[in-house]
Symmetry: C2
Amino acid sequence: MRIPFDTLRSEFLRILIKLNMHPAKAEQCATIFAENSRDGVYTHGLNRFPVFVELIKEGLIRIDAEPVLENHLGMIEQWNGNYAAGVLNAGHCMQRAIDLAKKNGIGCVAIRDTNHWMRGGTYGWQAAEAGCIGICFTNTIANVPPWGGIDPRLGNNPLIIAVPRKDGHVVLDMAVSQYSFGKLMQYQANNEELPLPGGYDSEGNLSTDPAAIMESKRILPIGFWKGSGLSLMLDLLVTILSQGRSTEKITESKKEAGVSQVFIAIHQPDTEMNHQLIEQILDYAKSSRPEKEGGKISYPGENTLRTRERNIKEGIPVDETIWNKVLSL
Amino acid sequence: MRIPFDTLRSEFLRILIKLNMHPAKAEQCATIFAENSRDGVYTHGLNRFPVFVELIKEGLIRIDAEPVLENHLGMIEQWNGNYAAGVLNAGHCMQRAIDLAKKNGIGCVAIRDTNHWMRGGTYGWQAAEAGCIGICFTNTIANVPPWGGIDPRLGNNPLIIAVPRKDGHVVLDMAVSQYSFGKLMQYQANNEELPLPGGYDSEGNLSTDPAAIMESKRILPIGFWKGSGLSLMLDLLVTILSQGRSTEKITESKKEAGVSQVFIAIHQPDTEMNHQLIEQILDYAKSSRPEKEGGKISYPGENTLRTRERNIKEGIPVDETIWNKVLSL
């Protein structure tokens, strides 16, 4: 079943207004959730919307709260998110970073006590649209064991890097776990093996069985010890730069609320030289002979554009159960 | 065979002076090469020194050249490395980033036409010693295929993130390939399998056989498609920020010279709060039960400190053939 973008967005808007969210904020939230589904990130669009509503009802997301600037050290700003909607706080911080970058070349904004930003790529696209390189990252609840350990003590801490480009921005949006829990559940629901090892089973063997990995809770970080180290560094950076809560503190509170994030923007002059350098790099990557006959090498963000086009034209594919649930909210 | 740090450094110094390098520069180069071996990164210390000398003799590294500031956009500086020694250029750029950060909170310095920086961690430690978060990355010659392709079109582009810490800085120094060519050669020389898949064999199967991987040239990026995307983004960032040469251009010239690099420093106030936040995060990671009885979870940089202490006390282990070669230079 496919639903037009505007229908999806209007439904989200209707529900948020009903929850007494300020109309301008409700508009922004509804747009981001609908865009996430439009771009193919269904897990952080429609599928996550009922959870978002639940958290608002529980008071873990405060619809009346506003982010407040607490400190600035030169070009670095520290904000308190006051548990407002994560998507609004994140959009606000990336905009601040962009404004700083346009004035000074670079801007760095950290925020504490914010909430889940849904799709990190949203803020990468935002920076790129504004003609800036965007780099942002967040911590999360502990869901990945550190290298050499079996208990989850690290988040899957997504890292986003975006570069503005005339014919479609280049946007990397990656969690440091090889697969997310959501992905594992999807493979399990379809009774499929993972295409590549995604973690360890309870005996400590690398496994492609989603159920075995979820049972052991030993999800694999990308590159084994390397992704483990990268996740730890990202937690250190967001926590000390925002003076906020680390993965440990987020995990202690059980609910994934009050996370810490960092947003960096670097202004990019829109020059012919930059255009050429970017195309040169993408063309070179694409000149590698494909592994499979007829295969194609994509740059980060390329598939997003294809999905976006199709979903705008044909409507956004929805899980009917979730869609009906949203209609009833 | 173990050699005292000072002996190693004096030998390097003697040779560089003989090559007519300015004494202050020779001193700095000799120290960095000796420190890399002291810290256990033998591949980019003693073992690489003869290649460094060779490149100086060939004129690919210009010992009389100086980096020159070409442009600055707010807090961002663009330097031309003029093919001077990569270790000197990199140290200079991280120092500029530190100076900018101490004034403005953050500094970002890009350099083009520079040379191999040897161990990227050197500049992470440098930033941390100066009380700054340090982030730096470089491009390299193409040695990793992009995801879905079989011909190398990406560099293994090392990424370094360092956080200053009272009882030993936290320093991640990782290339985006799972194993380096050097590591593969080491396993092959010892007739050992890799502990984890490091690439594909010529039939396209994931492999732990170093010889098979070197034959196919299909080295694995960390996290498969994720590391492939990260490598591409790092090449984009260093190339457009420095207006320098991309992995393609470096590869075309066959010799890995004239690379592009970026150095970011963020000043960190030395507060009790920061100290506590850092210890909290490291302690939490270490609280994961070890996979193996008696195992230990380390933070990035922890093993470096252990190796450093031992090598200072007992001398630095050297490959006798290479050491004798250096003595004869």
